[in-house]
């Protein structure tokens, strides 16, 4: 009885491990596809038009403080953006 129980326990654990491996591979492929098509293409097109998403270069401005643009209204706080 205990032999059977141990066998099934190991069997289930092995399958779980196998399933996890498959999940990781699928996740990797999906993320890679999204990254290349979604992020990559957008990035290449945007850069071709001179668009930058982060200000990585130093400026020669006298002050690095920038005015805060948003002056939220009470309803804006219901939004996640």
């Amino acid at each position: 009885m205990s032999y059977l129980a141990n066998f099934f326990k190991g069997f289930v654990a092995g399958f779980k491990h196998f399933g996890q491996g498959i999940t990781n591979i699928v996740n990797f492929i999906l993320t890679l596809v999204i990254y290349i098509i979604g992020v990559g293409l957008t990035s290449i097109v945007a850069k071709a038009f001179g668009k930058h998403f982060l200000s990585l270069r130093k400026t020669n401005k006298k002050s690095a403080w920038s005015a805060k643009n948003s002056h939220p209204k009470p309803d804006d706080f219901y939004r996640q953006f």
């Binding site: 990254y35 992020v39 990559g40 982060l54 130093k58 002050s63 403080w65 706080f77 939004r79 953006f81």
Partner: protein
């Protein structure tokens, strides 16, 4: 009106409940889950807050969340768009948690908490500003928030009056003083978002001979604004922080637990000098703009107690308020306060001032006794508070290491006399004893002194009047020269001490204990260090405290009105050294 504030998903998740404008309870999730800096959704902290308020989630009027998740997600996507294809490893690692969890806050609150009321999302730095100003004693104040990064902002300033906060200017990611500090922390072999205070503690051992090198990295303007030279960093697309260029400038990354050399100490000193320069220049600029003598500060950089202690000497500000958990943990208070006072336009009064940090769980005498009896722990009972104080003082005077577990747990990163380890500051060997027996921490790190507010100016060169953040151990001041040899265990190498001042009304038992020690030793000062071992959160429950004592060299534990001696009880199979982490 009841408002629940929530902060989570970056580091130091927390929850806070505000009832009719008063913070009734607040706690970090890590204290319950026992995972240091736990960033998960704070289910347990929320459960505690609701229990403390004696309500269910259905009775909560509003929930305030401490940031705008979609704006933060936009920033994360922008990092990947800008850094394609080098950012793939971080994209692969981080994006699933964003999609499954972080942008679904509303869903989590609805489904897992069962809350169907209004959820309000407060910008991260606005929540920081609110956490400082709306619970401060000021009617109006200049505001300065500075941390690693919120949604986009890394530093903001503005002005607050009455219930309204207006943040006027900002510095945006990737330019961040907090992230520069974290990069240097990582380079010095310590953990990011955890050990920045160690770098601050190391700084007085060094000379700032790398100051000019740091100035190549950070361009500080006269108004305290700054830009980083991003070629020295990789944190915007990698998990590690310093770039090869940074390493070429400052040498290889120190391996954790390896020797700390003079080179490392000089780096820490240079970084601290640069940090202070930014803070003082920014504050002077803010004062010139608003001409208001009150200052409220928040954000992780506001935990830099060395810089804080110099603010009043280097700027025209006359009063300062910093909330005890000035980092992200405090944003749950900010989110709740912003909803209650600013959005709902409720009046601020004396009760809304956060002048004590004892907002966490407490345990009744019956609960503590039940725990001791159930676990067959040997203990003795004090007949009166006077007896408890006198016996504890005697133990401390005899150079014993005492665990002090009384009342409600502190909210914030510092133990302030509820979950503390206390010992004798007059013993020159006490620093080594504490390190050997309990803390296992780096030799360069000093222990903190605690003193009653009336005695603080006698022993320390404090600002006058002593600012409230001193009560929360957020200010470092020089110890007066004549007393330095008398309290060697709390005197740092530069003669400073990160003191905590105690006012009687905040914690009468703790206050009397310090006074009583003064009567016996002639020195009304104690060592106060957090009740934990290195790498673990501060203890929360009687079980945590007992386990910590039994696994370390703490000689006795004064828990409520009970005295538990380690030597009277069987030592558990708990090896604190094994669990001591960074």
């Amino acid at each position: 009106m009841i408002v629940l504030g929530i902060a989570c998903y970056y580091h130091d998740s927390s929850a806070c409940i505000m009832v009719d404008g008063k913070v009734l309870a607040a706690a970090e999730e890590e204290r319950f889950t026992r995972k240091k800096h736990d960033f998960g959704f704070p289910f347990k902290a929320i459960e505690y807050c609701l229990k403390e308020a004696g309500i269910t989630i259905k009775e909560v009027s509003y929930i305030g969340f401490y940031e705008k998740p979609l704006i933060k997600f936009e920033r994360v996507l922008c990092q990947h768009l800008e850094m394609f294809p080098r950012s793939f490893p971080t994209f692969f690692k981080a994006i699933p948690s964003w999609i499954n969890e972080k942008v679904r806050v509303r869903k989590t609150i609805r489904r897992k908490l069962g809350y169907m009321g209004d959820i309000l999302f407060i910008d991260h730095h606005l929540a920081h500003a609110a956490s400082s100003f709306l619970v401060s004693p000021f009617k109006e104040a200049a505001i300065f928030t500075i941390d690693g990064v919120g949604e986009w902002e890394t530093a903001t300033y503005g002005f607050a009056s009455g219930n309204d906060i207006t943040l006027k200017k900002e510095i945006n990611f990737p330019h961040s003083l907090g992230l520069l500090y974290s990069t240097a922390t990582a380079h010095l072999g310590f953990s990011v978002n955890n050990s920045e205070y160690k770098v601050m503690g190391m700084a007085p051992y060094g000379v700032p001979r790398y100051y000019n090198d740091f100035k190549k990295i950070i361009d500080i303007r006269d108004d305290g604004s700054f830009e980083l030279d991003m070629s020295y960093f990789v944190y915007h697309y990698k998990e590690r922080m310093p770039s090869k260029k940074y390493i070429a400038l400052f040498g290889p990354i120190r391996r954790p637990e390896s020797d700390v050399t003079q080179h490392h100490k000089d780096l820490a000193a240079s970084l601290q000098k640069v940090t202070e320069e930014v803070v003082f220049k920014a504050l002077n600029h803010i004062f010139r703009e608003y001409k208001c003598e009150n200052l409220c500060m928040a954000g992780g950089v506001a935990l830099n107690s060395v810089a804080n202690g110099k603010i009043m000497r280097n700027t025209p500000f006359k009063s300062i308020y910093i909330v005890p958990p000035a980092g992200d943990g405090g944003c749950s208070v900010g989110a709740a306060a912003y909803v209650y006072f600013t959005l709902m336009k409720n009046k601020r009064d004396k009760d809304s001032v956060l002048d004590s940090s004892y907002l966490g769980p407490g345990f009744s005498t019956e609960e503590v006794k039940k725990f001791l009896d159930k676990n067959k722990i040997k203990f003795s009972t004090f007949r009166s508070e006077d007896e408890l104080i006198k016996a504890t003082v005697k133990h401390i005077y005899e150079n014993k290491v005492v665990g002090w577990f009384q009342g409600r747990m502190e909210f914030g990163p510092r133990a302030l006399g509820s979950r503390s380890i206390l010992s004798n500051p007059c013993n020159p060997k006490m620093q080594d004893i504490l390190n050997l027996k309990v803390k296992h921490r780096e030799k360069f790190r000093p222990f903190a002194p605690v003193v009653c507010i009336e005695d603080a100016n006698k022993y320390f060169e404090c600002d006058s009047p002593i600012p409230m953040p001193t009560d929360f151990m957020l200010m470092v001041y020089p110890i007066r020269k004549e007393f330095r040899p008398l309290i060697p265990a709390v005197t740092h190498v530069d003669g400073s001490g990160r003191l905590q001042t105690v006012r009687r009304y905040q914690n009468p038992k703790y206050y009397e204990l310090i006074k009583e020690f003064g009567k016996l030793s002639g020195m009304p000062i104690l060592i106060n260090t957090s009740f934990n071992i290195r790498g673990e959160p501060i203890v929360c429950t009687p079980y945590d405290a007992y386990k910590c004592m039994m696994g370390t060299g703490i000689d006795c534990l004064v828990m409520d009105k009970f005295l538990i001696r380690r030597e009277d009880n069987l030592r558990d199979a708990w090896d604190s050294e094994q669990f001591a982490k960074d």
